[in-house]
Amino acid sequence: MGDNKRYPELKRRLSPGWWTASRHYAMYMIREWTSLFVALYSLVFIYGLSLWAMGSRADFLNFLKNPAIIGFSLVALVFTMYHAVTWFYLLGAISPIKIGRSKTKPWQALVLNLVLLVIVSYLAIWLLILR
């Protein structure tokens, strides 16, 4: 007679450091963390705009010229660029555009979106600061 008893299964849980197990997971986690900087920068920028709304454009520009804000902006820029590049690439991977019989490659979407980003950024800078 066989032993029909069912033994307990070994349940496994991911440890909090699961994302350090491979380079791919780590890159994913960094991508997710960069959104924190995107959010923080948005808050800083909204605060700057509120200075302008309640005071003058000079208040806004002086706030932006603060060395701490410049330093933070540079750090945020690096992370935001990483965020943008990874997401633009994914956008191309998820939604390739059909042209005739061929489909666009992810890097093409990345380049196109980066060009659009530069144009939109320049327009925003021109509108807010240079004008």
Binding site: E9, K11, L14, W18, S22, H24, Y28, L90
Partner: protein, 248 residues
């Protein structure tokens, strides 16, 4: 022909004896054409008959022999021993699934998810075979054909940390299969399948880790299927707000 020796470290877990899993090391002589599964078979036949693992076809078709090899989910039948020359090969049960014994995992959860998405063609009204087949063009076939190549090996689940953190997540293969039917021009079951894939633990749980598509041995891109399903769901939701009665 000279033979090399592979050092293989295999997870052992015998629930009737062991409270915790441990590694057991074996030295296996191998030829150039041998894969990890051949080594496991050698161990079972020549060294230790108690080693337990699943396998069937030996040729990447059945999807039974998945394991984590050096931490990466792979089919043991498609992993050549010579690729690991000079290193110890670690073979563990596929990550994220409960272990029944040694390398054997419990597939029940995946099987339930597979059935849940109704992987068959749903018609509003079935017609008899005599009335003719449901026709489809080559272009229509192309829309879903890659997603029909899934062999249910579950490597994508072993690679998915989202599934590892939340086992309720519908997961890569089940969604890819759901999308395969959603995109099938012969299928009319969108209204039945959409609520299933768009549940809280459906596609929206995915945060695009993308490892599912990396590990798939059949070139299926489940990450793509999940995102496409999200896009379809979002456009449908907008349509139903803009055109509550029409839009079909």
């Amino acid at each position: 022909m000279s033979q090399d020796i592979a050092t293989i470290r295999v997870t052992r877990y015998r629930p009737e004896k062991d409270s915790k899993p441990y590694f057991q090391e074996y030295k296996v002589p191998y030829r150039h054409d041998m894969v990890v599964l051949d080594a496991l078979n050698y161990i079972k036949a020549e060294m230790d008959g108690s080693l337990t693992y699943r396998w069937s076809c030996r040729m990447g078709v059945c999807g039974s022999c998945g394991a984590n090899i050096d931490g990466e989910p792979k089919l043991t039948c498609a992993s050549f021993l010579h690729d690991f020359k000079g290193r110890t090969i670690t073979v563990e049960p596929m990550a994220n699934f409960p272990v029944v014994k040694d390398l054997v995992v419990d597939m029940e959860d995946f099987m339930e998810k597979l059935v849940k998405i109704k992987p068959w063609i749903i018609r509003e009204k079935e017609t008899l075979p005599e009335q003719g087949e449901y026709k489809q063009s080559a272009q229509e076939l192309e829309r879903y054909s890659q997603f029909s190549s899934c062999i249910n090996c579950m490597l994508c689940y072993a690679a998915c940390p989202i599934y590892g953190l939340n086992e309720k997540f519908l997961g890569p293969a089940a969604t890819a299969l759901a999308y395969r039917y959603i995109e099938d021009s012969r299928d009319q079951g969108k209204d039945v399948r959409f609520p299933i894939v768009h549940e809280m633990e459906g596609v929206w749980e995915c945060t695009l880790v993308g490892e599912c598509s990396v590990v798939c041995p059949k070139g299926v891109d489940p990450m793509l299927a999940i995102q496409k399903t999200k896009i379809l769901g979002a456009t449908n939701a907008i349509k139903s707000i803009l055109m509550p009665r029409g839009g079909r």
